[in-house]
């Protein structure tokens, strides 16, 4: 047995002991189930078996930051048009908690017509012809609701299950539960387009989980991963020399001190080097056929930013990355909603659909769960920040009923779940709470949400906090 192996065994022992005290029992179970893989056990991101057999292995979360308007995109509300310009009856709106507007604000009828798409006849906005072309693959949920009505708390709620900061995000939980198949890339990768998001890095934080599980931002300018390229003036050959020397000296120190952490350090430098070489390969689209690039709209100015990220998302899951999070900001249309929605759907509709189609034809859709949506929805009432400019009309935040869609691994496509009332004020049927969505995502990955836990401050925390029920109707 070589020293590294010896220490791997030692570390595994440490790990097992930690399991008993700190880490949730699930990880322990997986570890025992994965007996015989001792050489890799010192890597906290080593792949682990799910709790039960499941279809989805990876997740691509297309996060539409700012809260896209459900009435213009996913949830046809003809009745609302009749109320256009009028205030809703006070008894219907008196309990609403609103961010900027008052319950007496005038209704804004839907601004775009809807059409039927796909064999399933899913009704979607005319703004979403491409999404419509994959209607038979997606499961549209029109009955989402959240508890937060401000962006930062809302985003925290969606990704961490709590409105207060400091907890791990979904991607971190998933990597903690399942590890990652990617050997040369981080297990949780974040891609951003548009402007910055309200919650910033809280959206991909590891919270109280070890920072190993935090999301790594794949940047659109400069180094794709921070500090991925050699320092200025240092050649690859020189870098390799440096790494070889480091390895030798670290190895010697390992023998001198007998501290297994040094073996991990050596390992992390090797991984860093592999990332340096595989990073550029990941970003190199030259082997992608023109048709694929066109499909994602990589060359088109409007769709370029989000399209590039969608294509990268596919390439990342192909390489085994467990959780890919795309952030697109912003859909926060308090004003000029008509113009704003045209712009945002123009940027995202085609690439989102391309991602589904591309994954499907490559046989990856079955094992990849794709989620599209924001932190909450928008009010049926209008917001008018500039009464002297009619085009400035928009909508306020509304958590009581909004829409998202999912597709792929474990999800039954071509269906609509739930509905809101005629005035889009609240959910009328099949309510899906944010915690339910989280529970369902974990379920698709083969994890029971109540069993994916981590002890912190004397309590076993989980993504779904104290709630969450798997939405069975969504499942294939």
């Amino acid at each position: 047995m070589r020293p590294e192996e010896l220490f791997a065994v030692h570390n595994r022992r440490m790990f097992l002991r930690d399991c008993a005290s700190g880490i949730g029992m699930m990880a322990l179970g997986n570890l025992l189930a994965g007996e015989g893989r001792t050489a890799e056990i010192d890597d906290p991101l080593a792949p682990k078996k799910p709790q039960f057999r499941a279809k989805a292995k990876n997740v691509i979360f297309l996060f539409m930051e700012g809260a896209p308007s459900q009435m213009e995109l996913f949830d046809p509300k003809p009745e609302l048009s009749k109320w256009n310009g009028k205030a809703l009856p006070a008894d219907l709106t008196k309990d609403l908690k609103l961010a900027f507007i008052k319950p007496t604000a005038k209704v804004l009828g839907p601004q775009f017509p809807f059409r039927k798409y796909g064999q399933c006849g899913m009704e979607l906005s005319e703004l979403l012809p491409h999404t419509g072309s994959v209607a038979d693959d997606i499961c549209l949920v029109r009955s989402m609701y959240s508890e937060a009505f401000n962006h930062h708390p809302g985003q925290l709620f969606l990704f961490t299950g709590s409105m207060v900061g400091g907890r791990p995000t979904m991607g971190a939980w998933v990597n903690y539960g399942l590890g990652s198949e990617a050997r040369n890339l981080p297990g949780f990768v974040v891609l951003a387009s548009g402007v910055g998001t309200s919650a910033g890095s809280d959206n991909w934080s590891s919270g109280f989980l070890p920072s190993t599980y935090a999301g790594t931002v794949l940047r659109s300018k400069g180094d794709p991963i921070l500090y991925l390229s050699n320092p200025e003036g240092v050649s690859d050959a020189s870098q390799r020399l440096r790494l070889d020397m480091l390895k030798e000296l670290n190895q010697e120190h390992l023998e001198r001190t007998g501290d297994a952490e040094i073996a991990s350090r050596i390992h992390s430098y090797e991984l860093a080097y592999r990332m340096q070489t595989s990073g550029p390969e990941l970003l190199d689209f030259s082997k992608e056929p023109q048709e694929t690039l066109d499909m994602y709209g990589v060359k088109n100015e409007k769709t370029k930013a989000f399209g590039t990220n969608c294509l990268l998302a596919r390439r990342l899951v192909e390489r085994g990355v467990r959780f890919v999070m795309l952030l697109h900001a912003s859909w926060d249309h308090h004003s000029a909603i008509v113009k704003g929605l045209k712009q945002q759907t123009g940027a995202t509709d085609q690439p989102s659909a391309a991602l589904i189609k591309d994954l499907k034809r490559r046989g990856l859709l079955d094992e990849t769960l794709v989620v599209w949506g924001g932190e909450f929805g928008r009010t049926p009432m209008s917001e008018m920040r500039r009464p002297d400019d009619p085009d400035s009309i928009g909508r306020d935040h509304h958590p009581n009923g909004y829409a998202m869609w999912m597709a792929g691994g474990g999800i039954k496509g071509g269906q609509v779940i739930g509905q809101t009332d005629e005035l889009a004020l609240s959910v009328a049927e099949d309510k899906v709470h944010v915690h339910d969505l989280q529970a369902t995502i974990l379920h698709c990955l083969g994890m029971e949400h109540t069993k994916l836990t981590y002890r912190h401050l004397g309590r076993d925390f989980r993504l779904t906090d104290l709630g969450g029920q798997v939405v069975k109707k969504m499942l294939a």
Partner: protein, 838 residues
């Protein structure tokens, strides 16, 4: 059919007439179904159903039995599984119909409860015998066989355990390891080559002791030891939520912490000032600055945010932080319900919460030495110029009109949507004070500070009310810039974020299920029942100051234990109690309970001197042990619970930076002051929403680029990447123990970050500057990084490496030695040994 109907009618009529017998029917039912959670042993949600008085009084959310009104009685709503409430017993949809019906009838019949009713059998009082809640007594150091190893009582406790287990302590670490260890642990900086040589040449047997004493008086001691406390204080330089505005003078509190530690302010005083400095008699500016601790909570300036919600969240956070930082109790768990494991009731949580319920945030002038004179000399001139500018742009009359409209808007919301927005912005965007509060004070009664705050807000935000066109006509944007420039031209006083106690009587309420909107019973400020009570004047509401004094009172068994334990963990890598933030009943048992109590008692006897506490630990033989692994103990003591050796500890983020800058000679060792923004890659700030509001990262210039990691501006939504990579806290909640992860991103950071590459160049320069001789250069580089000389093997390896690098560089057209030395230096700065305290 008819017959059946008749029967039903009859039985109904019969039942209505029969009175329900409490003793025979109701009590057995309650006993069978309810006492488990609402009986003598525990009273979930504060409800006890086995005693008449308690049952009729109700629980945290108020009465549950309203005699004669079953439809309104929560007890009945729960057991019948009514819509909108959680059914009882838990996990059911309510009691079986017949049983629920019985209770309903009993309530409707007046809930008659004979005083003679038996109730549940009393349970033996469960006096808490948990070790951490017992009074601290100072145990005598135990006798040991090998008394030569015992340098101070700490060693007696450690050795006694080792001898019991038949294990010998590890040999002492070699001198240079010890020197570097003491330097890093006491100041966070590695020793310089001069300090190393001096130590090597010092043959005095007390040489190490002298080093320790020198380091304890170093101004860098306060920097090193401020950091773990700032982790607990969730220190940051920005608001945290959404716009995540910078807090330009948060550093003033950090400065206070550093100074306090450097002056060895007794930890009891240190604590009282941070929790209640503003309430001290004749509170000084510094006393108030200390309360910055309570201001490190997050702020949400999102439009439409309910300020009451975030005031509540902040009060919860302050309460939980008290638990984590001083008491080692996870009292935050009791925000929503009674603690599942610890004897902390939800009521206890809100009684602690009540101490903080009147906290008001207020910023004050907190001049640094030398600021006041120049400020006063120029103050009148500055004021005159400012007033002239305000006059030039006709601010006075426009602001008066705006104020009138704003008041009107507040009185009639929903009429003018643009003014509604302007009002909301007043609530969220006022800088340095509470906009609404100031607006509601008559203009002539406002202080100068209040006037300035409101005027500045008006000038910057008037456009929300009147739109861009009118705003452009006012030229307020230009005015704002001129005012800012004027302010920069004149000396100003440093500000500080502090707290005040709001005027008027406070009433505090428990919040049912932790929801800020659902008020439960009223509570009074009080410390948790399970702990020894506080001294307070009878009939007076205890204050935050009473609480602070209780926290550090001799009778409180927790603060001293918790504090010596985290200090121990800083120096030994593991607490005597492993769970630094949890001393509750599920905490890890202390590995050396008597040592813990000895240290805790001595700490108080030594008038809470941090320096004495740390000195004792650092001088012990236990501390001086080698950190090398002991294979023979690997199996039986893998976590080093026996303290049979020291522990190798990867340095925290800030100290990795400091060590690299120190080795390279680039470091600026100025102590204290504003936060700095060292170079960071483009695009980091863009990932936060604040970027849209003008948050930027103006790179620090000159020596400020090379300040210690502790001073790096911490922007909560987009923190400095290197800090994040190496596990610095996210500063959302109190953090009592940092991770020491080991990741590829760390490797990339050290290998390729321009900051570290610059450090490598600096180190190369220092090494080359030290001598013309290759061997001497290598030695210099080793001393600066690893605090020791290279071994022969290492020297040979580096010779080969150096030659290969040169060859390679020559091929690339670079014949200078500098580049090869830089590469060599970079290897040293990446070594595990370099970023580790051995």
């Amino acid at each position: 059919m008819r017959l059946l109907g008749l029967l039903a009618f009859l039985s109904g009529a019969l039942c209505a007439q029969t009175e329900v017998d409490f003793t025979r029917q109701v009590e057995p039912l309650l006993r069978a179904k309810c006492y488990g959670c609402h009986g003598p042993a525990q009273q979930m949600s504060g409800l006890r159903l086995d005693e008449k008085a308690a049952a009729l009084k109700g629980g945290y959310s108020g009465a549950v039995i309203l005699p004669g009104k079953s439809a309104e009685s929560k007890l009945i709503l729960r057991v019948t599984g009514a819509a909108g409430v959680m059914a009882m017993p838990p996990g059911t949809k309510g009691l079986p119909e017949a049983e629920a019906e019985l209770l309903k009838k009993w309530v409707d019949g007046g809930a008659k409860w004979p005083d003679s009713a038996a109730g549940a059998a009393p349970v033996a009082s469960k006096r808490v015998s948990h070790w951490a809640f017992r009074a601290i007594e100072r145990p005598a150091p135990p006798a040991v066989k090998d008394s030569r190893w015992v340098r101070n009582p700490i060693d007696a406790f450690v050795l006694a355990r080792l001898e019991r287990e038949g294990v010998k302590p590890a040999p002492e670490a070699d001198r240079l390891t010890l020197l570097r260890r003491a330097h890093l642990d006491l100041t966070g900086l590695p020793p310089t080559p001069a300090e190393i040589n001096e130590f090597l040449n010092d043959t005095d047997p007390d040489a190490y002791e002298h080093v320790v004493d020198r380091l304890l008086t170093s101004p860098h001691f306060g920097e090193r030891w401020a950091r773990p406390w700032l982790d607990r204080a969730r220190y940051a330089d920005s608001d945290g939520y959404e716009k995540d505005w910078a807090r330009p003078y948060a550093w003033r509190y950090r400065q206070w912490v550093i100074d306090a530690l450097n002056h060895d302010m007794p930890f009891d005083k240190f604590s009282v000032e941070q929790l209640a400095g503003d309430l001290l008699p004749k509170a000084s500016v510094e006393d108030r600055v200390a309360t910055g601790f309570l201001r490190m909570t997050l702020t949400n300036r999102e439009g439409g945010v309910d300020n009451n919600q975030f005031k509540f969240e902040n009060t919860v956070d302050r309460t939980s932080t008290l638990g984590a930082a001083w008491l080692g109790l996870t009292i935050g768990c009791a925000q929503c319900h009674d603690h599942k494991y610890d004897p902390i009731k939800q009521k206890d949580f809100y009684q602690l919460f009540a101490f903080f319920d009147k906290v008001e945030e207020v910023d004050i002038d907190a001049p640094m030495p030398g600021e006041l004179g120049p400020y006063l000399a120029k103050k009148d001139e500055y004021r005159a110029k400012r007033e002239a500018l305000l006059k030039e742009y006709r601010v006075g009359e426009q602001q008066a009109a705006w104020e009138k409209e704003m008041m009107d808007t507040a009185a009639h919301p929903g009429v003018r949507t643009d003014w509604d927005l302007a009002w909301d912005c007043l609530l969220k965007l006022t800088e340095g004070g509470d906009g609404e509060k100031i607006l509601r004070i008559a203009p002539e009664k406002r202080t100068q500070r209040q006037k300035d705050i409101l005027t500045d807000h008006f000038i910057r935000n008037y456009h929300f009310a009147v739109g861009p066109k009118v705003y452009a006509e006012t030229k307020f944007k230009e005015l704002d810039e001129r005012l800012r420039k004027l302010k920069d031209e004149y000396p100003q006083l440093t500000q500080a974020m502090t707290v005040d106690e709001a005027a008027g009587a406070a009433r505090s309420y428990l919040r049912v299920r932790g929801d800020y909107r659902t008020l439960g019973i009223e509570v009074q400020p009080q410390v948790p029942e399970v702990l020894p009570g506080m001294e307070a004047k009878v009939g007076e509401r205890p204050t935050r100051l009473d609480l602070a004094k209780w926290v550090v009172s001799r009778g409180n068994p927790l603060t001293s234990r918790v504090t010596v334990n985290w200090v121990w963990a800083e120096l030994f890598g593991r607490g005597i109690v492993k769970s630094l933030d949890d001393f509750g009943v599920r905490a890890d048992k202390p590995t050396h309970p008597e040592l813990l109590d000895y240290l805790a008692a001595k700490f108080m006897d030594d008038r809470w001197s941090m320096k004495k506490l740390i000195r004792g630990m650092v001088l012990s033989s236990a501390y001086r042990q080698s950190s090398k692994a002991r294979p023979e103990l690997e199996e039986r003591d893998p976590d080093n619970e026996l303290i049979a050796r020291q522990t190798r500890l990867r340095l925290p983020a800030e100290l990795i930076r400091d060590s690299a800058l120190m080795a390279s000679g680039l470091i600026s060792l100025d102590v204290g002051g504003k936060s700095v923004r060292p170079p960071q890659p483009d695009g980091v700030m863009e990932l936060g929403y604040g970027n849209r509001w003008g948050n930027s990262w103006p790179e620090s210039k000159g020596a400020d680029k090379y300040r210690r990691g502790l001073y790096i501006h911490f922007q909560r939504s987009t923190p400095y990447p290197m800090l994040v990579n190496f596990d610095a806290p996210k500063a959302n909640v109190a953090l009592c123990r940092r991770d020491r992860s080991n990741t590829a991103l760390q490797a990339l950071n050290l290998l390729n970050d321009p900051v570290f590459h610059e450090a490598a160049r600096g180190l190369a320069y220092e090494a080359m500057n030290a001598s013309a001789d290759w061997d001497a250069r290598l030695e210099e580089a080793y001393l600066r990084t690893l605090g020791r000389k290279p071994t022969d093997t290492e020297k040979r390896k580096f010779e080969t490496f150096f030659a290969k690098q040169k060859q390679l560089l020559a091929k690339e057209g670079n014949h200078l030695d500098d580049a090869a030395w830089t590469e060599l230096s970079s290897v040293l700065l990446n070594l595990d040994e370099f970023i580790t305290r051995e």
